[in-house]
Symmetry: C3
Subunit: 310 residues, 3 copies
Amino acid sequence: MKHLLTTNALSLEEVRMIIEEAQVFAEGATWQPEQQTFVANLFFEPSTRTKCSFEVAERKLGLNIIPFEVNASSVLKGETLYDTIRTLESIGVDAVVIRHSEDNYFSELEGKLKTSIINAGDGCGHHPTQSLLDLLTIQQEFGHFYGLKVAIIGDIRHSRVARSNADVLHRLGAEVVFSGPEEWFDESLLESGKYEEIDQAIATSDVVMLLRIQHERHEQDGQDGKEAYHKKFGLTVEREKTMKAGSIIMHPAPVNRDVEIADELVECERSRIFKQMENGVFVRMAVLKRALQEGGKINVNHHQKWPIAY
Amino acid sequence: MKHLLTTNALSLEEVRMIIEEAQVFAEGATWQPEQQTFVANLFFEPSTRTKCSFEVAERKLGLNIIPFEVNASSVLKGETLYDTIRTLESIGVDAVVIRHSEDNYFSELEGKLKTSIINAGDGCGHHPTQSLLDLLTIQQEFGHFYGLKVAIIGDIRHSRVARSNADVLHRLGAEVVFSGPEEWFDESLLESGKYEEIDQAIATSDVVMLLRIQHERHEQDGQDGKEAYHKKFGLTVEREKTMKAGSIIMHPAPVNRDVEIADELVECERSRIFKQMENGVFVRMAVLKRALQEGGKINVNHHQKWPIAY
Amino acid sequence: MKHLLTTNALSLEEVRMIIEEAQVFAEGATWQPEQQTFVANLFFEPSTRTKCSFEVAERKLGLNIIPFEVNASSVLKGETLYDTIRTLESIGVDAVVIRHSEDNYFSELEGKLKTSIINAGDGCGHHPTQSLLDLLTIQQEFGHFYGLKVAIIGDIRHSRVARSNADVLHRLGAEVVFSGPEEWFDESLLESGKYEEIDQAIATSDVVMLLRIQHERHEQDGQDGKEAYHKKFGLTVEREKTMKAGSIIMHPAPVNRDVEIADELVECERSRIFKQMENGVFVRMAVLKRALQEGGKINVNHHQKWPIAY
């Protein structure tokens, strides 16, 4: 039983194994555990997109999913997260997928449970399956990470994905730059990359990775604020024209159309936004297989050879 | 992939094919898609009855159902319906069943998606699977539609089912009359049938189709209002005695007992109310099969011959 | 089709058959109905723990589960429980598991439905599967009930489990004593056992069965109230040291740590709290099999012989 809590805790070897396996699933491989296996998805913060993606991945692996209604749960009566998961463990749940509003909610759980924990997002902390699906998408496109320039644009400070992606891409040898409003940048990010002005970042990067503006967090923004953001920091139709040949657009979705990205670019040729979602299922299959499988060898039969360039 | 949006858009040939196939399912036939197939039920308006019926139909066809929680969805964060369904499409969902409070919500989606859309009710607009299950129930009873007299009684103006049923029954050669409070009738209905006084309508029809009084819409009605409605426009024990030999009672449910229909008549011999629900599963199986199957041929093996009289 | 409504209505022979069959499941036996079988879990009061346990049990039996969202249901529009279940019956649901806030909600349903009803808790009334899993846990430990002393401690008056357990344990020949705040005891309990002072009850019983303090019901209790309760009526570290050799601790969970029981005792060697949860799945499998199977014979193949001492 292996947890997946953060990408930072994964060695590059583990990162590569997961995305390699995900690619194998993307090409149609199947795998099912030998015994009837139970999982539960505990989404203490709502997220249809991520939850639905896990639900598809779980069903593709033939897992049994125990519906867990957070609003009806004893957690509301003050039960600890440990007791909740220990209960699920007792009734036979082999792995839990958790999204929680608290940063590092899992630190109190480590070492105490046999059930595998897969982190589907913690506070402003981590969102490892999102990072891994981003990596898979980049790998599919370029075949390697080394030497690529990746611009991460938007509310970097509050983004789970920005930090994880910046760290792992930096470790994989990519050049990472950050852009967007300077007040959303912070010094701690300098370990992974430097701040760059928006037009330059867009014009010179292989991957333009936009982050969602969380209007939930920035309530002042009305329609005016949205238009102003789009003009100053969004991927406008004009800016897209300056992008390098072969470069791609990514966004974790849901997209605010005409804020982070112009409406007509969401499904343009450069866009990998829906491809990312597609890849999310395969990454989650790989992560679930890793969590449920003793050992962790790739035992899927597949004829194809997929060369991974590191 | 074929959508099912309205009965109006179905040719009579298509209507007949669906109810014929539904009857085949009612007699125990089975069908499963060749590949693992995913559906999602998006009920933006609650409806346990219709949703549960689809859920049974989907499981009888061996489909994988991705739970979609409207209250947790990005739709609440302003995501368009298109983006929501496009996301589900990306993660592998082959068909979506949608109930939505907006009339013709599907008009913005047509032609843009590969995923099949099955309309499970839109605003005051349409509810095609309800119409089709009503037709199946009538077909089972009488073997034909031509020449039957069908009375549709109640809040016709706000009923999704009344208009669809009136249109398709009229096209199939039945005589349709409307009854109930005259202020709930309107001129546009004259295309399909005329208004008739309640006692005559009940005494002369082969099918007495009652509509649910939506107390949600008519808030003035207290207990007095309910009793008054029952006396004036409900199927009372006395009125039932005037019904023609062989005539039947229908209601889309949930029933307001002692309002549209006397409590003791809900499961009387003439009543097909629970039969309608039973048929709902078979109609939805037929509609899902049609949506998921390339082409649309009936390839179910069945020994029985079911003569359909048109 | 057999209902399970209360333990009081079960003969001792039936109780023994259910826990024997549950033990067979605990040892790895499997059983599946011959035909595709549908169940629905209607939890009008939330309870993740019990619901999840039923969900696992149902999936282990290969049943198809129709999700039923109480908040979206027509029950809220005034539909009777009978009409709701009759609807589910019409669409093909073979058994329903119900939790409801009303005592004896099932009395209006008996004899009217073909669908099996399994009571998962009614008001302050009954919770038969909890009782049965408690019995299974005691049986596994001691091999018999006759002559055991069982102390039930806490809010006995409002506990569904206390009454059912006291009655059935008394019938099975155990000595039952009640303890905790005297104002939570009442005369009607004297049929099954007498009140005993807390220290004596804990020191002399084979089974110390703690009940959950329902802070929902006793709102006055702040942190002070909790500490005071723990000192006066809780299983403190000191009291545990006075327990008999071989005696065990039980609690229906969720536990209020440091209220009914000291935090460090929750998973101590004497504790069967998580074992109870584990057993819950097997008891529910047995109860569902009993509900779905014509007749009720044990037809599971198993090599092992499990001697049940009565």
